[in-house]
């Protein structure tokens, strides 16, 4: 209900009749009362005068009905006016306001939108940078330059490098073993000796009873 405040709340000119001037001042106070802009003390005084004067009660009632009417009109406009009609309406209003000393609402909106865009953009860039640093996997101190250069910020937290990572290797059973042997007509034995790593190595020893065949 502040839209029509300017029409009622203009300061009363000095050259006006004192009675009229006083009436205008009280009307302004009444308007502020209706808009709930008064301090508690002012509100108490105005309320006492409204209760005492039928004219003030009537004026307050007018303000209330005017407020209801404006709210209703605004709702109707929001409900029934299409976007094209709204654009036309605002265009007409803008044309009428060209030569007036009024801050144009659409210009103000555009400016605010631009500022909002900058803020949102800045937030988006900051968020993207934060996500990049979070999911980068490193500590954020290394910057790759080309294929083989890496710069490390030594002022940040120390980086622990594990040079000899434990490697788990599964080895087959070491050594050698005899699964089956047939000495034929000879005699022999099978035993094991230790290899360099302590692994068992199979030895087949045959007693050679024959002459050399050379």
């Amino acid at each position: 209900m502040t839209a029509d405040k300017n029409t009622h709340a203009e300061s009363a000119p000095d050259e006006l009749d004192p009675t009229l001037k006083k009436a205008l001042e009280f009307d302004e106070k009444l308007q502020r009362f209706y808009d709930d802009e008064l301090s508690d003390a002012e509100r108490t005084i105005v309320l006492r005068e409204v209760e005492a004067t039928e004219e003030h009660q009537l004026r307050l009632d007018q303000m209330s009905r005017l407020g209801d009417l404006l709210r209703f009109s605004a709702n109707e406009l929001n409900a029934d006016v299409s976007s094209e009609q709204a654009d036309d309406l605002f265009a007409t209003i803008s044309e009428n306001l060209v030569n007036t000393n009024v801050v144009r609402l659409d210009a103000a909106r555009a400016e605010r939108k631009r500022h909002t865009g900058y803020v949102v953009g800045a937030f988006a860039i900051a968020a993207a940078f934060a996500l990049f640093m979070m999911f980068r996997g490193g500590d954020g101190t290394e910057v790759a330059q080309g294929d083989d250069a890496t710069v490390t910020d030594e002022t940040s937290a120390p980086v622990v490098t594990i040079e000899d990572e434990p490697v788990v290797e599964i080895h087959a059973a070491a050594g050698s073993e005899v699964e089956e042997v047939d000495f034929g007509a000879n005699t022999g034995t099978v035993f094991e000796v230790e290899g360099a790593a302590g692994q068992p190595l199979a030895v087949v020893w045959i007693v050679d009873s024959e002459e050399e065949v050379l």
Partner: protein, 169 residues
């Protein structure tokens, strides 16, 4: 509709199972084609005073009993052969016999199952010296066949296997 889909799925599963069982599958051919390097060190060991071939110091087993009873060891030959699965490879020994090696299989844990025998080069009815020996050995870990008499000493044959793709240790 549902039973038709089930039948199709069952056919696919059975077909896949049959493919894995077929001996002519790619897996079978890959297994058939496996091979391994074998280094055969033929040593003449004698109890007489002498020298130990420096190359044998890497074979720790020959410095342990009973081999440490020999006071001289000489490398007579050191052939290196490639063993293919189920293919015989013959190596002539200094005493005229023949060492036959065969790669039977590579076990799932990467060891080698190898067959060895020592035969006469021209069988004339006499029994072979060592008809059959089957050994499982890990890469780089040798097995030893010893005891044949030769030139006043004893032949010690050290067979060591290693994968073909890796360098020998």
């Amino acid at each position: 509709m549902k039973s038709r889909a089930l039948r199709s799925l069952r056919s696919i599963v059975m077909g896949a199972a049959l493919l894995t069982l077929l001996p002519s599958g790619p897996l079978a051919s890959a297994q058939r084609g496996r091979s391994v390097n074998a280094e055969v060190t033929i040593v003449l060991a004698k109890q007489a005073e002498g020298t130990i071939a420096p190359e044998l110091t890497e074979l720790a087993a020959l410095q342990r009993a009973p081999f440490n009873a020999f006071r001289s060891m000489e490398i007579l030959d050191r052939p290196r052969v490639s063993l293919r699965e189920d293919q015989d490879v013959d190596i002539r020994l200094p005493n005229g016999r023949q060492l036959r090696l065969k790669l039977h299989a590579i076990t799932p844990d990467g060891r080698y199952r190898v067959g060895a025998s020592i035969n006469r080069p021209n069988p004339d009815g006499e029994s072979d010296y060592l008809p059959l020996l089957r050994v499982v050995a890990s890469a780089g870990d040798p097995f030893i066949v010893a005891g044949q008499s030769h030139n006043g000493g004893t032949l010690v044959i050290v067979v060591r296997l290693a994968p073909q793709t890796n360098k020998r240790r």
